[in-house]
């Protein structure tokens, strides 16, 4: 069983502040440690559940996609760190049996979603993919889905876990690391409890591989992106762009990945 894990930082237990998500604040260095330990818990659980090959993508964009503490990582996986690559999640292909999303956050605009945003917290107001509001968690699942790969585990706050159940169905495993009370406040489980839960749910997720359908959003793919400011849309240049209104653009592609690459 070959598993792809993509990680983010905002959904990690203990992370609630923006300062924790980017350098140079010392809190960011602490958050890297928390992230690394959650990755290790997920790798351990996946191995216990039968994974034989694991690739973990350091997917949090700050610090050029270098967030794990390399020599504290679990020995049982390979790790992809740094940026950029030629294409969005271009290492995901149909050789994988499932993907996990670790440390995910809710889409922009979600009430009580810790550090909620979609891609850019300053510029992106809402993303719709083929008419459906979608965040980063959903879009990663769609890219995996285009290869027939199901997303079987999502870890993060209550809001992103609700979003995952809503989008991916009741069979997807979730591990709730914290319950948001506002964008920057949460009741968070202890580190040990969070890691234990992630490990247990990662193991359980391995048994869901045949139960969770790959997310199929159809083809072609239309991404409608509403910005927060007119000026964000005014200045935006990308392939196949159509301007829908003052703050909104649309791009298309044959697949989710191609549409997203066109957006960049």
């Amino acid at each position: 069983m070959k598993i792809y894990m993509v990680t983010d930082l905002e959904g990690v237990g203990g992370v609630v502040l923006k300062e924790q998500t980017q350098p140079p604040d010392p809190l960011y260095q602490e958050a890297r440690h928390l992230l690394t330990q959650e990755v290790n818990a997920a790798v351990e659980g996946a191995l216990e559940g039968g994974a034989t090959e694991i690739l973990v993508r350091d997917g949090h964009g700050a610090n050029s996609g270098y967030n794990f503490i390399f020599d504290q990582l679990h020995e049982g996986a390979l790790y992809m760190m740094g940026s950029p690559t030629d294409s969005y999640l271009d290492e995901v292909d149909d050789s994988f049996d499932a993907i996990f999303q670790i440390g995910a956050h809710a889409m922009a605009g979600t009430l009580h979603g810790v550090l909620e945003h979609t891609q850019s917290s300053v510029a992106w107001d809402e993303m719709r993919v083929n008419g459906r509001p979608m965040g980063e968690m959903g879009f990663c699942a769609a890219v995996a889905g285009q290869h027939g790969v199901p997303c079987v585990l999502v870890t993060g706050d209550q809001a992103v876990c609700d979003e995952a159940r809503d989008l991916l169905g009741p069979d997807v495993e979730v591990a709730v690391t914290k319950v948001g009370l506002s964008r920057t406040c949460a009741i968070t489980k202890s580190p040990a409890a969070v890691r234990g839960l992630i490990r247990e749910r990662a193991r359980a997720a391995m048994a869901k591989i045949d139960k969770v359908e790959p997310l199929d959003i159809g083809s072609p793919v239309e991404i409608v992106l509403r910005f927060k400011h007119v000026s964000n849309a005014d200045g935006y240049k990308c392939a196949n762009k159509r301007r829908l209104d003052s703050k909104t653009i649309m791009v298309t592609g044959k697949t989710p990945r191609e549409a997203f690459d066109n957006l960049a």
Binding site: Y66, F70, L73, G82, P84, D90
Partner: protein, 263 residues
């Protein structure tokens, strides 16, 4: 058996960003720790393979001080610092083999982590006697002039390919990561990399006598194509010839001498 080990930082497992290779942030200190562990693995493997004397040269950066000194393996001696009278001054014919650790591919290589030759901002291409070469080829050629074969090279997949091209099929290579772009790679975990380097270092000792020293012929001509005309305009060094707007050539009786003339 006397082994000379030259280390760089870009090819170390876990290193993909510029900020990991320069002082000033926490990631640099992490990278020094990762590098020190790889050095220790190589020293351990070399000793297991029969090395009796080892000098490890900390060659990254203009200062040449990167190892975490009190974490270093007790079985070797360590050369820190820079500004010796001649390039790689301590590397002479008394050594039986050379290791190149933590190396990076030559400038311009695709899917090569932190690819460059000498100066990422200024050097576009180096040729030695007509052949495109990076730092691996340069160091191997200088060792070769002393009759010392390069036994082991460690670094990313691009380093592997470059080493095979320049040094042939017999040199031992340990691949630490596979570059997807200049600043992104798929990496084995640190413990696996350490064990691989140790095993490769041990195996490399058994290649003494089998791997030939690199011979690029004499005299040596090094041509440097810069990225900007202004860099060639301002370049003053012994025996310099200006080949075109961006390119200069220097010569020497040996590669080492030609390289010294360049600096």
């Amino acid at each position: 058996m006397r082994i000379y080990i030259i280390t760089d930082l870009e090819g170390v497992g876990g290193v993909v960003l510029d900020q990991q290779t320069r002082p000033g942030g926490p990631l640099f200190d992490e990278a020094r720790r990762l590098q020190t562990n790889e050095v220790n693995a190589a020293v351990e493997g070399a000793i297991e393979g029969g090395a009796t004397e080892i000098i490890v040269h900390d060659a990254h950066g203009s200062v040449g001080y990167n190892f975490l000194f009190d974490k270093l393996h007790p079985g070797a001696q360590y050369l820190f610092g820079a500004d010796t009278d001649t390039y790689l001054a301590a590397l002479d014919a008394s050594f039986d083999g050379l290791f190149l650790l933590g190396m990076h591919a030559m400038a311009g290589t695709r899917r090569a982590v932190l690819e460059h030759t000498w100066s990422p901002s200024a050097w576009d291409e180096m040729r030695i006697n007509g052949r495109p070469m990076g730092e691996i080829g340069l160091m191997a050629a200088i060792a070769g002039e002393e009759g010392v074969p390069t036994l082991l090279v460690t670094g990313d997949q691009a380093v592997h390919d470059e080493t095979r091209e320049v040094l042939g099929p017999d040199v031992e290579i340990a691949v630490t990561k596979i570059g997807l772009s200049r600043h992104c790679a798929i990496m084995k975990p640190a413990g696996q990399v350490g064990r691989l380097i140790r095993a490769s270092a041990r195996a490399a000792l058994s290649k003494i006598g089998k791997v030939k020293p690199l011979d690029i012929g004499r005299p040596a001509e090094i041509t440097i194509r810069y990225k900007h005309v202004s860099m060639a305009d301002g370049r003053k060094c012994a025996g310099k010839r200006r080949l075109d707007a961006r390119t200069i050539a220097v010569t020497g009786a040996t590669v080492r001498q030609a390289f010294d003339n360049l600096s």
